[in-house]
């Protein structure tokens, strides 16, 4: 089981905008470089990109959840 971790501390968002669908859902496939969410740190948004390919088994972090740098956001089966 591989993991996608937050590169920064901040607030994790699973959607590009509140009224849009999530970047990825549990069970979706993910390729290297795919955006799986955003981390907002001090009003600046940074894309979280997957560095691994596989299937997202589960998002560990919820939408709008405060996260720390290195915290697991999603688990991936490769």
């Amino acid at each position: 089981m591989a993991e996608i971790r937050s590169p920064l501390p901040g607030t994790f968002y699973r959607k590009p905008a509140p009224d849009q669908p999530a970047f990825k859902e549990d069970g979706d496939t993910v390729a290297v470089g795919d955006v799986i969410g955003l981390v907002e740190v001090m009003k600046t948004f940074t894309e979280v990109k997957s560095e691994i390919a596989g299937t997202i088994t589960k998002f560990v972090a919820d939408n709008e959840e405060p996260v720390t740098a290195g915290m697991v956001l999603a688990e991936v089966a490769s």
Binding site: G10, M42, P66
Partner: protein, 453 residues
């Protein structure tokens, strides 16, 4: 009725500043805080603190329900909104008043009038305050647009009426280019916003950003001279001064008088700032917008006038009349403020939250430090990056620049990256030294110099 217990609906350095002003007036303070701010300096130094929600600002510092409920539970009789968050939200001001509390600022009606660009422009024109020449509202056709552009003179800016974020904006340097760009801009605006309506406005370039601080009691208003904030990056001010190095005395007089006229015309109550663009070549100034709150850069005005602006806000909100006549407000010397942000200037100003593991502060005459930092403080990643403001004063601009250099050399903020190296480098730039920078100067300078910061 004078305020007895003040609820502070903000955080960071401005919360600390408000607590200090309130304490000086014998007002009890209740500090609002989110879960992420439980260890903040404001919470530590206020008389009381009230939890208003989780770290997310939307559920804490922007939650009108949570704030009003907490303010009432704490027995507060007034709410200070600070800057940012709900400070210019007319609904918030109205809800505070409906709850039987005093909002420290102007009425909801004045906030909504001056917060609307078109309404504020109309109010300015009615008060005889110059605005940026342009179309009054939407331009009906290409022919009408061309006529307006020809009469105000090129270059002109073409803006989407429904726009935002820079989309649908074009600059035309002559009539032929105007005709070509107008059609393009209209198409782009229609595609992006479902509304092809356009405005036409004169381009003021090179422009200086000057702003006038005013205080009003609902009947009478006074000005506290101007500030200049031309050093900006992405429309964020990084360095502010008072007075402006660009204004001749006659322009200063006309500018400050226009601000008082507009403030009195809307029966302004509290502290406010009228922002202008100043064209050095022609000597013309143009009103752009009003901020109906205290501003980040207010300390430079306090340093040259000796007036506690936040204290005055609290007295006015408590029902007091303005204590000063205009001729009693005098300025002396020159003040400069720089904003220390938790950002890495060498890496595109990336935010850099973290723990303050060392803190050494400058001091001496004419040096002021407004901040919420203390050694060991963990700067949360959830809010803006302002860590503190270093403010210096001296008799002349030249001496104030030297004092700033000395103060910066004493300042150490350890544990994270800050904008300190930017200011050390800017002090060596001849354009800054001579006071010549206009509003787009810093971004151009950063293109060449940011990598060395």
């Amino acid at each position: 009725m004078a305020i007895e217990t003040l609820f502070i609906a903000n955080r960071g350095e401005i919360a600390v500043r408000i607590i200090r002003a309130a304490r000086q007036l014998g007002i009890k303070t209740v500090q609002a805080y989110s879960v992420a701010d439980a260890e903040s300096l404001a919470v530590k130094i206020a008389d009381e603190a009230a939890l208003i929600g989780p770290p997310s600002a939307a559920k804490s510092y922007l939650s009108i329900d949570n704030i009003i409920e907490a303010a009432k539970a704490a027995g507060a009789d007034a709410v200070h909104p600070g800057y940012g968050f709900l400070a210019e939200n007319a609904t918030f001001a109205a809800r505070v008043a409906e709850a039987g509390l005093t909002f420290v600022g102007p009425s909801a009606d004045v906030i909504s009038k001056m917060g609307d660009k078109v309404a504020a422009r109309e109010a300015a024109k009615a008060a005889g305050v110059p605005t940026v020449p342009g179309s009054e509202g939407r331009v009906a056709s290409l022919e009408e647009g061309r006529k307006i552009a020809d009469s105000i003179g090129y270059p002109v800016i073409i803006k989407a009426a429904a726009g935002g974020g820079g989309r649908g904006i074009r600059v035309a340097n002559d009539g032929a280019e105007f005709e070509r760009l107008f059609s393009q801009a209209s198409g782009e605006a229609a595609a992006a916003f479902g509304d092809g309506g356009l405005y036409v406005e004169k381009v003021v370039h090179p422009a200086r950003h000057v702003e006038v601080q005013i205080l009003g009691d609902g009947t009478r208003a006074v000005h506290l001279f101007e500030r200049e904030c031309s050093l900006q990056r992405r429309r964020q001010k990084v360095w502010e001064e008072a007075p402006s190095a660009a204004l001749p005395a006659t322009v200063r007089e006309a500018l400050t008088a226009s601000a008082v006229r507009l403030a009195e015309a809307v029966d302004y109550s509290g502290a406010g700032t009228l922002e202008y663009l100043y064209d050095e070549t022609s000597g013309d100034f143009y009103f752009i917008e009003m901020n109906t709150r205290i501003q980040v850069e207010h300390p430079v005005t306090e340093m040259i006038t000796g007036i506690d602006l936040v204290g005055e806000m609290l007295k006015i909100a408590g029902g007091g009349a303005l204590p000063h006549r205009q001729d009693e407000i005098v300025r002396r010397g020159h003040a400069i403020e720089v904003r220390l942000n938790a950002e890495d200037p060498a890496n595109n100003f990336m935010p850099f939250p973290g723990r303050i593991d060392a803190l050494r502060l400058p001091g001496g005459p004419g040096v002021r430090w407004d901040s919420m930092l203390y050694p060991g403080y963990e700067v949360p990643p959830f809010y803006d990056s302002l860590l503190g403001k270093l403010i210096v004063w001296d008799e002349t601009r030249e001496a104030a620049l030297d004092r700033l250099g000395a103060a910066l050399s004493e300042l150490t903020i350890g544990g994270l990256k800050t904008t300190l190296p930017l200011f050390t480098a800017l002090l060596k730039a001849p354009e800054v030294r001579r006071g010549e920078a206009h509003i787009t100067w810093l971004e151009t300078w950063l293109d060449d110099n940011a990598k060395h910061l």
